[in-house]
Symmetry: C2
Subunit: 196 residues, 2 copies
């Protein structure tokens, strides 16, 4: 039933993951909970169905843009390119509050929903990495560097929902993000001027 599937997202959005369960879901969808077992074989199955029903991760296109945009983007200096990609990625994530909630939850539990998220994210990460490989980058361990930056983005996206400062610095504002991207660009830029 459509109502059940869509109720998963609504319930997570309203109450957070902690309060999602068979009973709450059935209540929300105005459906008898036994149907969740009959049609989806339980909560996990319903999660899986829900995972297929929504777009909870950006596509490579959403990050890089369409064909010709990619050309233009890629022709810029590599530090600008990386900054733009990281920034777009962060915006894509931040525009998906449900995804952030799932990302928070995957720190704590592994279920059909978090596994689906893992997979689509992994695939997108590989695709994106393949694109970036075409760039003319200074020699460095770029996969690790970009991973590190993405870790930081993910952490900040999740964490800034609950706290406002970290080591004295404000993190819950647009400016905080800008400072972070500036710093990342600054760091990346340095790699092009390394003595070694």
């Amino acid at each position: 039933m459509q109502r059940m599937v869509s109720s998963v997202g609504e319930l997570i959005a309203e109450q957070g993951f902690a309060n999602v369960g068979v009973n709450a879901l059935a209540r929300k969808a105005k459906v008898d909970k036994v149907l969740i077992y009959r049609y989806f074989d339980g909560l996990e199955g319903l999660y899986a169905a829900y995972a297929n029903s929504i777009d909870f991760w950006p596509s490579v296109e959403e990050i890089l843009g369409e064909e010709d945009d990619v050309q233009e983007l890629m022709s810029q200096p590599f530090d600008k390119v990386l900054r733009t990609v990281l920034e777009r990625f962060a915006n894509a994530v931040r525009s998906r509050p449900l995804t952030i909630e799932i990302m928070a939850w995957e720190m704590v539990e592994r279920n059909a929903l978090t596994i689906a998220l893992e997979q689509v994210r992994e695939q997108m990460g590989l695709d994106l990495a393949a694109h970036m490989q075409k760039l003319d980058l200074p020699s460095a361990d770029w996969p690790t560097i970009t991973n590190t930056f993405i870790f930081a983005i993910n952490y900040l996206a999740i964490r800034s929902r609950k706290i406002e400062r970290f080591t004295g610095i404000e993190i819950n504002s647009e400016q905080a993000w800008t400072r972070m991207f500036d710093s990342m660009e600054f760091l990346i830029n340095g790699t092009g001027n390394s003595k070694s």
Copy 2:
């Protein structure tokens, strides 16, 4: 009662945060649950008592070392210093699995335990930042840069408990950490050679 307080940590370690509750704790401590209300005024109070009973965050000394060690450390090139500090910090966190569990949980819920963790972490962060300020660093937004790196460390510490790779790269190994620190040092090093 001592047994109640220590049971908090044991239960979290054994079952994870999700399964901690008044009943489970009382069972574990072999104590009637009413005592939790009487002595600690409920779960939150017990959390608070537990928070004060353990060392769940490294001190500045644990990171920088004792007086004379600090001198020696600080006399090294700044990229080495930062790398060492970040590495020690990561090791300190990684040696505290309970802390990591709490860090995972604070993504999802805010309670007396996560709040206590926030506070001690914030204080230590400020102290550490004060020390680092004495370093002769190239001009840059260092608070944001170090925060970014710490975000990445925290994320990796939490996340590597549940997954093994991220964008194709292995993250659940000693080598993964080394690669990350190498990359961080590499990035920091670049800032010293920037054309501006």
